[in-house]
């Protein structure tokens, strides 16, 4: 008994402690590129000054979502103790939490009522347990040319009319968005879906992606390309950057994209600097303006050797000052709602703070379940098939709904959640 205790103490004492200077080491694979990278390094240096007993190792990992996901899976599946902190895309939290790779967070330590509820909801799993802290939030928005349109379109009809009105020889595209076969297509679709009043899954776990509203949304997207001619066929191969370049070179009247594009469009390289603005995506009667909820969260590796130090770093990075700095230098929307009353934030935002807050509060998350990636892939494939014309929207969405329902049923998640809740147990 005593020897085991001694061994445990020894283990605890040596784990996570840097043998060189006795500081606790926290490894953090954060974004290390460009302006954001430099900002992060400055913030980490400040953190280490305020916390001299902790050393932070910033590891470079690819920013590309698929590659980062793959690396995380490999390390966490191998029960690796590092990285201590994980930077997660919003749709990964339930997946990693279900796999038992994330440490459940003590909500008292994370002042949860400071954050937007929608961003927190996306990070809860296992009967409402919180697993990650929202770092910054991304919302899909409509960028529009102020010199070609009098106002941002508020309805789908206005979108079509505005696109047509603004198009000309020098501006051959009405609207551009992300239509390649990847997650971005699902986020774009989500916004049209909500705009027509539909949703992907109901709150009781039924897949309703083949509803009449969904079919109307997909038909409208298809029509934009093939009938109305306001979107180029090429969008079906575009990710965020291609759309951004099209708008930046002045060849499009409108664009759907994330907030990151704003700073780039306002820079010197841009041909539309000073001639554009942002607005919520439009909606049709029966729907509501919808923004897909994205962003990054910070979570702790369940096998981390330094969870308290990791939590302190997370608390620091998600503190008010750091978030303001991010908004100012990297253009990322903070996740603390009180900041939207702060005049310092208003100076950094591309739109009035109230409008930004409204968009974020209305942002729609994708279904918060561990099998979302698998469902998303099914949906992406069918959406893309319909958009290239290989299948009608009705047939494609019907197939998607059936396949997705099959996967959900097989995973048995709703009943499992029910069972867990009744037993009052959290799985590790």
């Amino acid at each position: 008994m005593l020897s085991r205790a001694l061994a445990a103490i020894l283990l605890l004492a040596t784990c996570g402690v840097d043998p060189d200077d006795g500081r606790t080491v926290v490894t953090f694979p954060g974004s290390a590129l460009g302006e954001e990278g430099r900002l992060l390094q400055r913030q980490i240096v400040r953190f280490m000054e305020e916390n001299p007993d902790i050393r932070v190792d910033l590891q470079r990992t690819p920013d590309d979502a698929t590659q980062r996901h793959q690396l995380y899976v490999q390390r966490l599946n191998a029960r690796s103790h590092d990285p201590d902190i994980l930077q997660l895309d919003v749709i990964w939290t339930p997946e990693f939490a279900a796999a038992g790779w994330l440490l459940p967070l003590d909500e008292a330590a994370v002042d949860t009522d400071e954050f937007f509820p929608a961003t927190l909801e996306a990070n809860r799993w296992w009967d409402g347990q919180l697993f990650a802290v929202p770092w910054f939030v991304d919302v899909g928005m409509l960028y529009w040319r102020t010199d070609l349109l009098p106002a941002a379109p508020a309805t789908m009809d206005a979108l079509t009319r505005g696109a047509r009105a603004g198009m000309s020889d020098s501006v051959p595209r009405g609207i551009v968005w992300q239509g390649a076969r990847y997650e971005g297509l699902v986020t774009t679709f989500l916004e049209y879906l909500g705009g027509f009043g539909g949703e992907i899954m109901t709150s009781d776990g039924r897949v309703v992606v083949d509803s009449p509203q969904a079919i109307r949304a997909l038909t409208f997207m298809h029509a934009q390309i093939h009938n109305l001619g306001i979107a180029p066929e090429a969008v079906l191969t575009w990710h965020e950057e291609e759309a951004r370049f099209a708008f930046q070179n002045g060849t499009a009247v409108m664009m759907r994209n994330w907030p990151y594009a704003y700073a780039l469009l306002a820079s010197d390289d841009s041909r539309v600097a000073g001639r554009f603005s942002v607005a919520p995506m439009p909606a049709a009667p029966g729907g509501h303006p919808t923004a897909a909820l994205g962003g990054n969260q910070l979570a702790i590796n369940a096998r981390s050797d330094a969870p308290e130090a990791a939590l302190r770093l997370i608390a620091f990075l998600t503190a008010t000052d750091q978030m303001l700095e991010r908004a100012e230098l990297a253009g990322q929307f903070p996740t603390r709602h009180a900041l939207y009353d702060d005049p310092r934030l208003a100076a950094s935002l591309p739109m009035p703070a109230d409008q930004a807050r409204a968009i974020i509060e209305a942002a729609t998350p994708r279904p918060v379940i561990p099998i979302w990636t698998e469902l998303s892939e099914i949906l992406q494939i069918e959406l893309h098939r319909a958009l290239v014309g290989q299948a009608s929207p009705e047939v494609a969405l019907g197939r998607a709904a059936r396949a997705m329902t099959e996967v959900v049923d097989e995973a048995g998640i709703p009943e499992l959640q029910e069972r867990m809740r009744r037993r009052g147990v959290a799985l590790r």
Binding site: A32, Q67, Q70, Q74
Partner: protein, 273 residues
């Protein structure tokens, strides 16, 4: 070749070489162009030339580091695999013992599993050995595809070498080992050079293992470094293409240096008639 078909053949060759070189030429042009210009209408000649992308490679990204790492990993893997592989290849091609085909088959079979499926168990193994983010931690996994390649290539080369010299040495009382080292290896220099080049480039290009088994710039190789240029959405075309152009230089130099050995070795050691 007859005088009629020769111009045709030369023309076809010229066209083929031009087709091969064109994308690379375009990559060089693109690496000298500002990014915003890239996405407008394409042109064959550079519209404006800037060196920003190249400067950024070394100022901001310290690109010489991944080049060094790639050279070390690819170089050591190649040397080791060619050396060990040549032993095995000689044995299989020239000596008689049971199980030769089975050995060849086994060595080949090992490369037939998709890399993505063996990444996870390899990671587990390397972690247990403490080799993550080290040079040996890359060289060892690389041998799973480099060794079969070298063995199979060298078996082919050894087989085609004329036996006369070998048997002459044997008649003179040399042991098998001495024959191997003093006679066969020098004769096989062109084969060794070719195998070396092919193996080196194979390793140079490898991405998945390098991504999964390294953690930081001290050990990350060129393909991984280039992958890290990408932001969440941004693809810095200019820098990526500049990096590719620069990364090709060591390889091209190596090839130029070695390819003369291929010809030299042959004319020097071949036994005619």
């Amino acid at each position: 070749m007859s005088s009629r078909t020769r111009p045709l053949a030369v023309g076809a060759l010229g066209l083929l070489v031009a087709a091969i070189a064109f994308p690379f030429y375009w990559a060089v042009v693109a690496s000298l162009t500002p990014e915003a210009t890239l996405f407008r209408a394409p042109s064959l000649w550079p519209r404006e030339i800037i060196f920003d992308h190249y400067r950024a490679l070394f100022d901001e990204r310290a690109f010489w580091l991944p080049i060094r790492n790639s050279l070390i990993v690819a170089g050591l893997t190649t040397i080791f695999c060619v050396a060990v592989g040549s032993f095995a290849a000689y044995a299989i091609a020239r000596l008689r013992f049971r199980g030769q085909s089975a050995i060849l088959g086994f060595i080949l079979a090992v490369t037939m599993f998709p890399q993505i499926s063996i990444v996870s168990p390899l990671y587990l193994m390397l972690r247990a050995l403490g080799l993550i983010n080290t040079f040996p931690g890359l060289i060892l996994p690389y041998m799973t595809f480099a060794m079969p390649l070298t063995v199979w290539l060298l078996v082919g080369f050894f087989r085609q070498l004329p036996r006369d010299l070998e048997e002459a040495a044997f008649m003179d009382g040399a042991s098998r080992w001495q024959t191997f080292v003093r006679v066969m290896l020098p004769l096989a220099t062109p084969g060794l050079a070719t195998t070396g080049i092919l193996t080196f480039i194979y390793c140079w290009n490898e991405f998945l293992f390098a991504l999964s088994f390294t953690l930081g710039p001290e050990r990350q190789t060129v393909p991984v470094a280039i992958a890290l240029f990408r932001g969440q959405y941004q693809v810095p075309w200019g820098e990526i293409l500049a990096a590719a152009v620069i990364a090709t230089a060591p390889v091209a130099a190596l090839v130029l240096a070695f390819q003369r050995r291929i010809v030299q070795g042959l004319t020097a050691g071949a036994v005619k008639g």
